[in-house]
């Protein structure tokens, strides 16, 4: 594995309205790696993602990006108002960077469309395609940036089970072909596990991290997620000093 991380967070903390959303989070992401961020609702996943993407500045700590890092981002969901007449092709072509020649971009667009089998969708209005198809279109759009790092925010949300497996297969194929690192936020674990190299459990701080198989055995993981997303009760960690405090009750971890 390449030794220069694509992105590194050093002890970042973030506060919103005098409330700690994240405390002392450090992580690094390497090329060719899939890092999955999991955690219950309100754990600060979205905040961490926004900080890493540079959409916000952390209250404390610093984030280091590899110089010249190109990021492809796939938002959680995108709601396009019906009043905007927009075909899938036009939607994708809006991703063309200013400096890129139109002809080069079109070649790239065609390649990506084929890779994600978008052929039949290209002429359809972007509002008229299914949730799973939209996610594939969004993934294509992220790829058009020729990214070194692909950031996916809950990529399978609102997609049916079969579509989820399919989408994850696309994502893994994309990583192998484009050699980009992937940072993914998720709260459904069972499917994610398969291709992920590293899982990071977040609940305002990093509770545990490691290879999916090792991590699912740890106490911290079990207390955070239970067996198959049971309700979370008031709990304590025992595995490390940094985590020795009482968490507020979480009503539910899945939604």
């Amino acid at each position: 594995m390449n030794t220069t991380p694509l992105i590194e967070a050093h002890n970042i903390s973030h506060r919103f309205d005098d409330q700690d959303v994240l405390s002392n989070v450090s992580l690094s992401l390497y090329p060719d790696e899939i890092l999955t961020l999991i955690g219950p609702n309100g754990a600060g996943k979205s905040t961490l993602l926004k900080l890493l993407l540079g959409l916000m500045q952390p209250t404390q700590g610093r984030i280091q990006r590899k110089p010249g890092l190109r990021v492809g981002f796939m938002p959680q969901k995108i709601q396009i108002d019906d009043s905007l007449p927009l075909s899938v092709t036009r939607f994708l072509s809006l991703a063309r960077p200013r400096h890129e020649k139109r002809s080069e971009f079109i070649t790239k667009l065609e390649a990506v469309a084929e890779e994600l089998t978008l052929g039949g969708l290209m002429k359809r209005p972007v509002q008229k395609i299914s949730g799973g198809e939209m996610q594939r279109v969004l993934l294509a759009r992220a790829l058009l940036k020729s990214p070194d790092l692909l950031v996916l925010d809950e990529p399978v949300q609102g997609v049916d089970l079969q579509g989820q497996t399919e989408l994850y297969e696309y994502i893994n194929a994309v990583r192998l072909r484009h050699h980009c690192g992937i940072l993914m936020v998720s709260h459904d674990l069972h499917i994610v596990m398969k291709d992920t190299h590293r899982v990071l459990c977040l609940n305002q701080h990093i509770c545990c991290q490691g290879h999916p198989q090792t991590i699912s055995g740890t106490d911290a993981f079990k207390t955070l997620f239970g067996d198959g997303f049971e309700q979370l009760a008031l709990y304590e960690h025992h595995h490390s000093e940094a985590c020795e405090h009482v968490h507020p009750t979480q009503e539910s971890t899945s939604s």
């Binding site: 926004k50 993407l53 540079g54 959409l55 990021v71 981002f73 938002p75 995108i78 396009i80 108002d81 009043s83 905007l84 007449p85 927009l86 075909s87 036009r90 939607f91 809006l94 991703a95 063309r96 960077p97 209005p125 759009r141 940036k145």
Partner: protein, 268 residues
């Protein structure tokens, strides 16, 4: 007024035609984004605050058009700021803003009884009183909007689609949105003369909404909105001359007819 007298156009009619048509064309690029970003309440709130501009201009004896533009710019920026720093839903915020400034404007105007301002002219427009200065203003704004659209069309579309995504792709979304709001505020300030405070939003959204039925791309919708805006202004002016109707409402009525007609076509 008969059709014959229309053929020998006096200056004020020439100004009315030039100003109205130009305004219809330059309102379209902002109007489509008002529709796509669901900001028609924003337009209405700005228009109401423009009346506050009128009353303040009278109070301090300033040029009314400039006072209106200054106040709508200020209003646009403060609404933008408030929407980011309060937890109220934006339609509530805009409602408060619109009616607070309307009330304040009416109070200020009533305190200056001797001035005897023609409130109707500001509420419903007075296109026949368009001055050279205002026409020049519309022309300059037109060039500015043209440049904005030329340079930022794709960026604005991306911002409208998803602002996080746009920002990650390297667009300074906040600056861009402010630029757009600034243009919108100035446009509303200048358009008050044409259709008035109460009807200005319709000039922005009606042609765009009608064009939606025929459009397959953002660009065709823009072109359609320009065309329909021009037809509305022409139709309104003509109807107003032929049947002696108030011009502002006649323009909006013409736009309404076009909108209703567009409903006959099945949407794409």
């Amino acid at each position: 007024m008969s059709l014959d007298s229309l053929l020998t156009l006096p200056d004020f009619l020439l100004y009315a035609f030039a100003g109205g048509l130009l305004l219809a064309v330059i309102a379209a690029p902002l109007g489509v984004f008002v529709v796509w970003q669901k900001q028609s309440y924003f337009g209405a709130a700005l228009a109401h605050s423009a009346l506050l501009g009128v009353s303040l201009g009278l109070w301090w004896q300033l040029d009314l058009t400039l006072a209106v533009i200054a106040v709508s710019i200020l209003a646009a920026l403060s609404i933008d700021w408030l929407s980011r720093h309060t937890r109220l839903p934006s339609d509530t915020l805009l409602g408060i803003f619109a009616h607070a400034s309307l009330a304040l404007a009416l109070i200020l105007i009533s305190l200056q009884q001797p001035t005897q301002i023609d409130l109707m002219a500001y509420l419903f427009g007075d296109i026949l009183s368009l001055q050279t200065g205002e026409l020049v203003g519309i022309l300059i704004l037109g060039l500015w909007i043209g440049r904005f659209v030329w340079r930022h069309w794709s960026d604005m579309l991306n911002l409208t689609l998803n602002s996080d995504l746009a920002q990650i792709e390297g667009i300074d979304t906040r600056a861009l949105q402010r630029h757009y709001l600034l243009l919108l505020a100035i446009l509303i300030g200048l358009a008050i003369k044409v259709v008035g405070v109460l009807l200005i939003t319709s000039l922005l959204i009606m042609p765009a909404a009608s064009a939606r039925r025929f459009a397959r791309s953002p660009e065709t919708m823009l072109t359609g909105a320009m065309l329909l805006g021009v037809i509305s202004v022409l139709g309104g002016l003509l109807a107003s001359f032929l049947w002696d109707l108030p011009t502002g409402p006649a323009i909006v009525a013409a736009a309404t007819v076009l909108f209703l007609t567009s409903l006959l076509k099945r949407a794409h």
